[in-house]
């Protein structure tokens, strides 16, 4: 019973994560690195081992904008 639901949940998580196990205990460093991976590959869990970044990578880092409080 538990085995079936555990297996089904882990299969769903693997499908959501591109065939890999889900990440847990993700801290700000990991979030920053996963955002960088998304900018490099287009997927949050995508990985690549190219040496040089694609053109335009150095300009794709976004500023988070918020309205000022007055």
């Amino acid at each position: 019973m538990f085995g079936f639901s555990g297996a089904a949940l882990s299969k769903i998580r693997a499908m959501q994560n591109g065939g890999k196990r889900a990440r847990h205990s993700v801290d700000q460093w990991d979030r920053q690195m996963m955002d960088r991976d998304r900018r490099l590959t287009g997927f949050l869990r995508g990985q690549t081992d190219n040496v040089l970044a694609p053109a335009g990578f150095e300009l794709s880092n976004a500023w988070k904008v918020e309205r000022g409080f007055t």
């Binding site: 890999k20 196990r21 990440r23 847990h24 205990s25 990991d30 690195m33 996963m34 960088r36 991976d37 490099l40 590959t41 869990r45 995508g46 990985q47 690549t48 081992d49 190219n50 040496v51 040089l52 970044a53 694609p54 990578f57 150095e58 300009l59 794709s60 880092n61 976004a62 500023w63 988070k64 904008v65 918020e66 309205r67």
Partner: protein, 158 residues
């Protein structure tokens, strides 16, 4: 003002203005998190001087490090790119197996020692770079050389 992280942001702004031409252009590293983690100790072995220089510059610049330490940062990028290129050329298969294992295991190095050992051996033979953990006590075996990893999930991947 802009000195703290934004808390309530609803929009992002992507500024596509490139750097001025007076700054030499160095291409950014194209590896994502798992290959970088896998190669990190080798980058540290070769690029220790440049990395220490950059960190010292950032510490001493009192908040202005983004603009004042560009030169040291270019050296760091070039050195790390050279390490990654050499590892790609000589040990690509062991490197790929190691970082694919890391990607599957929440980027935890102790789950993937089984693939780390052939990678370390190959890099040491071809590139003469040895992985050393800085600050490890010298009277014990370093963690990456121990036979039994106490936190690994399974024996097969140790």
């Amino acid at each position: 003002m802009a000195s703290r992280q934004p808390r309530f942001n609803q929009q992002v702004l992507i500024d596509t203005t490139p750097l001025p031409d007076s700054i030499p252009k160095v291409p950014e590293i194209g590896s994502s998190s798992a290959p970088l983690l896998s190669a990190s100790y080798f980058i540290g072995a070769r690029c220790k001087a440049y990395n220490d220089d950059y960190m010292l510059c950032k510490t001493e610049s009192n908040g202005k490090g983004e603009t004042e330490c560009l030169k040291e940062g270019r050296k760091v990028t070039r050195c790390a790119a050279s390490v990654l290129e050499d590892v790609n050329k000589s040990c690509l298969q062991q490197f790929r197996e190691h970082w694919e294992c890391l990607d599957n295991n929440n980027q935890q190095l102790w789950q993937c020692r089984r693939w780390e050992r052939p990678l370390n051996k190959c890099v040491f033979d071809n590139l003469n770079l040895e992985k050393k953990i800085p600050g490890a006590p010298t009277n014990e075996i370093p963690v990456h050389l121990r036979k039994r990893q106490i936190f690994a999930h399974s024996i097969a991947t140790q």
